[in-house]
Amino acid sequence: MSFQVEHEIHKRRFGRNLGVGVLLVGMVAIVFALTVVKVTRGMPLKGFDHVVEPELVPVEPVE
């Protein structure tokens, strides 16, 4: 006895799942690209954590 699984509705569901999968991968690629561009544009990457780091404090010109 064999089950006939290839109903038309299975194809439609597969198409839907494939579409969602492609969109999710695309979203990951977009966020990754956005991150790479933002990071490589030379903005300061280092910030304060829990301790003040003196080298990050802007130096005020002495009058």
């Binding site: 109903h7 509705i9 439609r12 569901r13 198409g15 839907r16 494939l18 579409g19 969602v20 977009i30 690209a33 956005l34 561009v37 544009r41």
Partner: protein, 310 residues
Amino acid sequence: MTDFTAQVPAAEAGFGDYVALLKPRVMSLVVFTAVVGLLVAPASVHPVLGLIAILFVALGAGASGALNMWWDADIDAVMRRTRNRPVPAGKVQPGEALGLGVALSGIAVVMLWLAANAVAAGLLAFTIFFYAVVYSMWLKRSTPQNIVIGGAAGAFPPMIGWAIATGGVSVESALMFALIFMWTPPHFWALALFMKEDYHTAGVPMLTVTHGRRATRAYIMVYTLLLAPVGIACALSGIGGPLTLAVATLLNVWFGVGAWRIWQRDEAMAEADNYAVEKAVFRFSLWYLFAHFSVFLVEAALKSYGLGGW
């Protein structure tokens, strides 16, 4: 032994039905005008950031389309032009359209903010709100001015594009907004003249239904005359130049002649040639907008070679 009965829904949506919810044809116009707004702005954007920003402007436009289809499913089912849309056709449940619209709106606005800036994201959020709530929910079924005020929703994309590049608004971006805003009424009323039964059957108070077809013809003439100075003002602004002025003058004269011909006709004449003039003006109005924005782009390209502009 137990018998199983497979319960297969009458119509189950395919991926394409969810894409159709986003009104891809409207999205293409949104993308085009937003790209022009972005490229003619006097500031450069990193190409990857620009591409991602435009993608999410398109997604935001699609989200507002899904919200519109959720809200308007009852009248879409009545109109011949829209009865095959996924919700009235029973392929997508109204709740799914609402969920998709809300989720994509949120994603689009947040991602545009990350890729560009808060001004662009704010304008996109306002556009979605304007189309889904102000136009679809408040105006469309209550006033014959629905198209006039609702046209603002379609007019925001070049302003968003400009904001992506510059982080603000300006006279030029306001003029691009005004061009689409003033163009929308004559464009849709020309359509309403030859899609005559649809809006009437659905009870949507289009001008043709509330004020009659004679008045609609006059309104098309008036709005086309009001549109012309906006087109010329765009050509005289920072995004224009001699070429833009020449093209804008031609386009506006041509559109004006078309509107004049519509105004001079009555229903008997229109019936006799199956609304040939109305259909021709409707088609031309699409080219009108496309040509205007294309020439802004050409002018910007010429400027980079030291040629175009004032």
